[in-house]
Symmetry: C2
């Protein structure tokens, strides 16, 4: 197995990206191909003990910044690490691509310039995987498609279901639509038009509609929404969780008695942070393009990169692309 790692993806590139690849190489039977500025990548690799590891370096002369416009960068930086890395997968020279880089650019370059869509897939979907009360949930779409048709949502369900089953190892994942109420009569016109399509999907355990609270309580393994709603959903959860943690920290350290309490409670904050930390998971797949693509957060640490690489490995082993193609292929 050959997995491409974008060495220029994270905010602190190429440090965490290269270190994560080295960690992963020690844990798996696979060749890791680091793509980026060759001099920089080799200098970074020299800081690690790589004896006996299967690591390669492929040069890419351009870097796409987080602040770059995805469409402009896709056109104007054809030698970016994202173009070069995805090109290796496109030509069959590698099995998967892992990056902590600009999500919009990855989406554009994968969909329009390199891998393109799996035949039969109408639209690709960006996903998030986040912790809930009793495990993890895959959310799709979180931003690739601000406006969708019912058919697209049904396809997102098929793709996310395949990922949950084959990569996350969930047997018969529960799949739900995000709505403003569980009851049948709730939902907007899009949701109401999607419900009958969901019921017809083969091999998808559609359990109905869920509200945000139920998603966090672990009522479903897969939650489906359009990219606009999903983006608001995910960002609201992040923003609220961060606000409450911050307020509690402030309050705990503001008084004399409570600041002693705060010191003693510090390990608890650390454990909760770790529990809701997206980097522990690694990344989330871009679904619907013709190849395995895992996108992690720009702030990822080496462990985050390593975990994302493991996800890519499991996606290749689980033959997710083949499964999606079988169900949606034309």
């Amino acid at each position: 197995m050959r997995i491409v790692v974008d060495a220029m993806g994270s905010d602190n590139r190429p440090g965490p990206d290269v270190a994560g690849a080295v960690l992963a190489a020690r844990e798996m039977q696979a060749t890791l191909i680091l793509v980026g500025d060759e001099a920089q990548v080799r200098a970074e690799l020299a800081k690690h003990d790589t004896a006996g590891l299967s690591l390669e370096v492929v040069h890419a002369g351009q870097v796409i910044e987080m602040t770059d416009s995805p469409t402009e960068a896709a056109k104007e930086k054809p030698n970016s690490s994202i173009h070069v890395g995805l090109g290796l997968v496109q030509r069959g020279e590698a099995d998967a691509f892992v990056t902590m880089g600009n999500t919009g650019a990855v989406l554009t370059i994968a969909t329009l310039f390199t891998l393109r869509r799996i035949r039969g897939v109408k639209r690709p979907a960006l996903t998030a995987i986040f912790p809930h009360a009793a495990g993890r949930v895959v959310a799709a779409d979180i931003g690739a498609n601000a406006d969708v048709k019912p058919e697209y949502l049904a396809q997102f369900a098929v793709m996310a279901n395949a990922y949950a089953r084959l990569v996350m190892g969930i047997n018969q994942p529960r799949v739900a639509l995000l709505s403003n109420g569980e009851e049948e009569g709730k939902g907007n016109e899009l949701i109401k038009a999607t419900i009958p399509l969901m019921r017809e999907l083969k091999g998808v355990n559609y359990i109905g509609n869920v509200e945000p609270k139920e998603v966090l309580n672990g009522a479903t393994d897969v939650v489906i929404h359009d990219g606009f709603t999903g983006n608001i959903f995910i960002k609201s959860i992040e923003a609220a969780a961060s606000m409450v943690s911050k307020l509690l920290r402030q309050e705990i350290t503001s008084g004399v008695v409570t600041s002693v309490g705060g010191l003693l409670a510090k390990p608890a904050f650390a454990r909760v942070s770790k529990r809701v930390d997206p980097f522990e998971i690694g990344g989330a797949p871009l679904l619907g393009v013709n190849g395995v693509v895992i996108i992690g957060h720009g702030r990822s640490t080496d462990v985050g990169v390593k975990n994302a690489i493991h996800q890519a490995r499991r996606a290749v082993e689980g033959r997710v692309i083949e499964a999606i193609s079988e169900q949606l292929g034309v």
Copy 2:
């Protein structure tokens, strides 16, 4: 001034509803009209010292439960405290209606059976008022309209702006659309079609689009969205805040050292709870119907009810209905 209070609204009715009205009557120059089962309301009133207070009781023989279907209850319980109370406002016998009851039923009964819409208003909007980093924000719509047109969103902006200015006392409130990014190119088709309408609104300080994080950081005083997106937005914030608080409490009380910390940190939790407590605010207006209607939470305490009554008083004093009618009236 005469304000109607639904005595049968809260989950623990009529206790908090009646106690809240008594508290409010002590603080303001207004007659409070309690609507509900007369025997129950009078028995509850007898528990309080009401000497010198201007309190009236109007009998209503039916009660709408939180679990009742709004449309069915609206038709089948014409003598509910919500029908009777809103009827008093409709006939000019009172100036405002305050309830902790079934939001959907209030919306239906106000819009279709009693007050009806302000002439020129296309759709009424449900709102939420919640605390952010530096004050409070009015969010509209949070559930009355799952599917909207750009024109509706622009009207919601006019109405929420009037409320923020005249009732919350915010000079030139900042008004924004909720979107999946601040940049002009972001948003779904609805948002993109609404932007030009927002720019044309007179007397509305439209500052552009905001993401959930910015709303919680206090970047805007009014945030506008369709009822589906707004419902997901509000419920995601509530669910995430509650989850993080719960996880931290669990973690803090799970170890020996940290549980001592937890005890010491307890006042901090209490202060944060109070700070993000919606009951401190009281309620939020139903905007667009032809009369002042304030809806609070079913779990409200007497202080929550009292605060909601004060909001109603300020809405009457501020002449919000007249202001909306002037700007949107035909």
